[in-house]
Amino acid sequence: MNQLTIAIIFYVFAAVTVLSAAFVVFSKNIIYSAFALLFTFFGVAALYVFLSADFIAVTQVVVYVGGILVLLLFGVMFTNTIMQTELKTDVMHVVPGTLLLLLMIAGMLYTFYTTGDWMPGETQLQGSIVQRVGFETMSRFMLPFEMASIVLLVALLGAAFLARYDKAHKNEH
């Protein structure tokens, strides 16, 4: 594949990501917003592939599409009056919001133009990326990895506790 083809594919995915993200925000129908998120997540995964981060790209699909999006859709679908709900909030801070937006755009553009060359990594990746990720999680990033697993375990226990069939409570009625 030559440079032009790669550029075309990149811009297609970038457009998909940005347009669907805009649709998520501006759509009046919350169901459509949720489904448009699918394309946003996939676009982001594709952008990770362009950065040669295959593992992160697949993780993005597994976690965001397989987990979060499905959970979100479940929540939206089981809410009866979802189609009638007015999505706009009463409190609208137009001026501070616009200021914040402009500041963020300015910050990103500043970083983009002042960073001369994007630095290539000092050590080039050798062989399989999965192997490298495995070694790093099991050696240098052992503590964060274990802490994340404890946080997830606590979340699981909490969810199981909340969803539990409460016998004592049932007898009171």
Binding site: I31, L38, D54, V58, V61, V70, L73, F74, S128
Partner: protein, 359 residues
């Protein structure tokens, strides 16, 4: 590692073929699995399933169109093409149309990492197996879109059941495949097959060379039935309670799309199970002394033959189970997943780790 030099030669040659700036070769690489799914779903999928179910129930099956009813599927396709494409008035038009498409794309995307023999694979990703498990998520979203978009109680219930089932059974399935990944020490689908090919044929396959591999093998097989909504886990489309589940409202080619997606994912899970536990494109025949049966039956063309035959065997077992076992209830389904398969998957994980350390 005798096959290593010839790995991916066909697909690499195709991928390098450009027409000006247009990467025609890549399009052809993507089209080959698509054509394969269509052909196999027509012949083995629809016709084969009808014939197999007929023989299991002591019937003849389709016999009228063509000799032994061979042209029955073609007649069915013509019929489906002529059907009116109905979109219910109360349905959500956009989601109703996009649902089957997303579902088919989800089932087709997994074929990217499925090696059709040693010389052909869509993309030899080093996260191949992980990708194949993860991309199923798209199918889930397609089911939800069609189930909710139909605006029908049965469709919504079918979709919710189906998604709950797929999401739950992903856990034992992934842990079982993780055992396979531990044995091979890789996630690349081609390297799985390379690691299991050798002069003694099927003795190199993990199922036969590793005494604990049968446990993750069975767990993955059972979970894969649930992930493809096949009997005995077909409660999402339970005819007696839900009409047809999430595709109740669909007609014509949209209906056919669901079937293509189902047959596509049936082949995919069969392909995954044969790659991870049964050597993929590796030949089952051993070299006996100077009579080199294994060497004779290896190579790109034979490899393609072996992997398709192994997958077809598992599809046959899926059909066999469908016409043998009754359907599970919803609570039995969840019981089986969370209280039987998941704990045993963890046991299999520990046993595999112990075996890999001390073998």
């Amino acid at each position: 590692m005798s096959h290593a030099p010839s790995l991916n030669t066909w697909s690499d040659a195709l991928a390098g073929f450009n027409l000006g700036w247009f990467p025609l070769g890549l399009v052809i690489v993507a089209a080959i699995p698509l054509v394969f799914i269509a052909l196999y779903a027509l012949t083995y999928g629809v016709y084969g399933e009808r014939k197999i179910s007929a023989f299991m129930q002591d019937r003849l099956g389709p016999m009228e169109v063509g000799p032994w009813g061979l042209l029955q599927t073609l007649a069915d396709i013509l019929k489906l093409l002529q059907k009116e494409d109905i979109v219910p008035t109360a349905a959500d038009k956009f989601l109703f149309v996009i649902g089957p498409l997303v579902m088919f794309v989800g089932s087709f995307l997994a074929f990217v990492v499925l090696p059709f023999g040693p010389a052909f694979i869509g993309a030899d990703l080093n996260v191949g197996l992980f990708y194949a498990i993860g991309i199923v998520a798209l199918e889930v979203v397609g089911i939800l879109a069609s189930g909710w978009g139909s605006n029908n109680k049965w469709a919504l219930y079918g979709a919710v059941r189906s998604v709950a089932q797929i999401v739950s059974y992903e856990i034992p399935a992934s842990i079982a495949l993780l055992c396979g990944a531990m044995m091979a020490g890789t996630l690349s689908m081609q390297q799985f097959c390379v690691a299991q090919s050798g002069p003694f044929g099927l003795l190199h396959w993990y199922l036969f060379s590793n005494p604990v591999a049968w446990l993750p093998f069975l767990i993955y097989f059972i979970s894969s039935l649930a992930e493809t909504n096949r009997a005995p886990f077909d409660i999402p489309e339970a005819e007696s309670e839900l009409v047809a589940g999430f595709f109740t409202e669909y007609t014509g080619m949209k209906f056919a799309m669901f079937f293509l997606a189902e047959y596509g994912s049936m082949f995919m899970v069969s392909g995954i199970i044969s790659i991870v536990f049964l050597g993929g494109w590796a030949s089952p025949l051993p070299n006996i002394g100077s009579f080199a049966l294994n060497t004779m039956t290896s190579g790109p063309v034979w490899g393609t033959f072996w992997i398709i035959m192994k997958s077809f065997f598992f599809i046959f077992v899926q059909m066999w189970l469908r016409w043998t076992l009754p359907r599970l209830r919803v609570d039995q389904l969840m019981y089986l997943c969370w209280k039987v398969l998941t704990p045993f998957a963890f046991v299999a994980f520990v046993l595999t780790a112990v075996w890999e350390i001390y073998k």
